[in-house]
Symmetry: C2
Subunit: 345 residues, 2 copies
């Protein structure tokens, strides 16, 4: 009686177990296990009886118990910034596809760019004993993962290197892409070019800024301090930054936007009255080609990044011993028009 109560309270629905199936089919526990896992060594007749019992009871194997016994969960974790960001959708999907090909499920969570939340999430995933982790870092100290790495949790970082630990990282050629994009503007006659990017604490943002600066310097162009704006990518801040660059005492004739969100805001500003400037943005986005002018971008392939990271992770899981490596993927300048506007005042 007490036993019954406890079960009814604690557990949902009191699901049938292999024991129940075994009892109903009149076979041993292990035989049920064999059938459920498609192992050999069960006669057709026995298997049929077991299958019938499974059907009748609506049995479904409890993977928690299985995991406990086997030590592998066949699931991997993905910590990203924001699932709703169009950059991460394809990335996440690509990771999922690779995981699926390896028979693994994907558990993911958004850090909302908060380092504490990143850590909380990553550790929660480790507590679930995911086999591996793909992390898009929000923070810059990942020593909290040391025990996990030692315990064999395969870990690959994406978009930015890990801080304080030695781990794989897959990222785009941010510096080179930014350099190329800026050079594109210079090649079309621009000499006063503004840069609006994300907070410099973020690795990608810093790299992209560096690429812009190098391109300017290599072209012998000065960079007026009012031409560089780094900070959060909130539309209002970006809008103000863009407007002051376009109307200041040293007005720019072109803008380089440090990421997709900045680019979109920049497009909106430039669509406003009286603002004419060329534009190149980092990250491609849907419909960029249909705007007028169509927006020239430095495109990174987020699906490719996700795929690369996930494949690396499964190679590690497969047992291949690998040194921590930095894998840099190329980016591609897609010229569509907005970068070719002449710097006519």
């Amino acid at each position: 009686m007490v036993e019954t109560n406890r079960r009814a309270e604690n557990r949902y629905g009191n699901r049938p177990t292999m024991k129940d199936v075994a009892a109903r089919a009149g076979v041993g526990l292990k035989t049920v296990s064999r059938v459920v896992n498609g192992e050999s060594g069960v006669t057709a007749d026995t298997e049929r009886r077991v299958q019938e019992a499974i059907e009748a009871l609506g049995f479904r194997r409890n993977d928690s118990a299985r995991v406990l016994r086997k030590g592998r969960t066949s699931s991997i974790g993905l910590v990203l910034e924001d699932l709703a960001d169009p950059f991460y959708g394809p990335l996440s999907r690509a990771v999922e596809e690779v995981a699926r090909a390896h028979g693994a499920l994907l558990i993911n969570g958004s850090s909302a760019e908060d380092p504490d939340r990143e850590q909380e999430l990553a550790l929660a995933l480790c507590a679930r004993r995911v086999d591996g982790l793909v992390i898009i870092p929000a923070g810059d100290d990942h020593r909290y993962l040391e025990p996990e790495l030692r315990a064999g949790v395969a870990t690959v970082f994406v978009d930015r290197p890990a801080g304080g630990i030695d781990a794989d990282v897959v990222l785009s050629d941010n510096y080179g892409g930014s350099y190329t994009g800026t050079a594109h503007l210079i090649a079309h006659g621009h000499r006063r070019i503004g840069f609006i990017g994300d907070q410099v604490g973020i690795h990608t943002a810093a790299e992209r800024l560096r690429g812009y600066q190098a391109a300017m310097e290599d072209a012998g162009l000065p960079v007026h301090e009012s031409w560089v704006s780094s900070g959060d990518t909130h539309p209002e801040r970006v809008r103000k930054a863009a407007e002051s660059m376009l109307t200041g005492s040293e007005p720019v004739t072109a803008l380089f936007a440090g990421n997709n969100r900045v680019t979109v805001t920049a497009v909106r500003v430039l669509a406003g009255p009286g603002h004419h400037a060329a534009l190149v943005g980092f990250d491609d986005f849907e419909l960029a080609d249909l705007l007028s002018p169509a927006v020239t971008v430095v495109a990174q392939d987020s699906a490719q990044i996700g795929r690369t990271a996930a494949e690396r992770l499964f190679r590690r899981l497969g047992g291949t011993p690998l040194e921590a490596e930095r894998i840099e993927l190329p980016v591609r300048l897609i010229a569509r028009g907005s970068g070719e506007l002449p710097p006519a005042g």
Copy 2:
């Protein structure tokens, strides 16, 4: 020796357990459990010793074992069509936020609109013993979930009702939205309006088609058979459909696009030379306001849909007994210009 080997082979890294922590701290197993779970009844001194041992060994509780014992996983599953689709990003994120507020993790997977894959995923999630499921159906028979529902897995469907079982569903007013969008075109003088939608087997697609037809009928307008095209949303098919409607013997002067992917393709077609027509699309999309003409849409709030579904799910998990319910969320016509083009030939 044999024991050691087995562990080293099967398990990753041989993580420390509470037993190891207990041994190192010189306390009992249960005391470690108490410290880890923040339970009372442990002196400050004992707690400190245990904490030190945890730090030193890099112990992290194994949630699989915990789940096995407790019967609840504090995780929910989300089965959607494609994480990379911009409609599902915000939805997924919203579900995640609600889950987070309830201390649960989100496991998600893409069905790729394949019913078999949907089932495979949903059942895999059930095997992990997720506490609840949010499903965007790809198939139309969900009786395979009956044992799970009986076992207490809270389940909420999104976007389309479940087939063959009695379950909650959260969806947009597809019929009404489509009716309103079509009526908007009619109000601006269009009499020959084409409809391009997804496969009619899909509930939302059928409802939207119905809305279009009703609006036409209520306005006393005939619907020429060549004006309706249903099928997959592959750009090439949509492009052909649109072009034949625009250039056929009964050319349309306006298009109603049944979902965001169709809308985008339609925009591309209309941007081509010689094609002039008004356009209203179902689903809003980023930058719709920056195109020329800006695209008028019937917008559904995917984040709101996700939030509503997840909240419903957690109310069920909280123990509130609820009848299966159909929750229909309103949609909103956002007039931006492309719907107001006059039907001038």
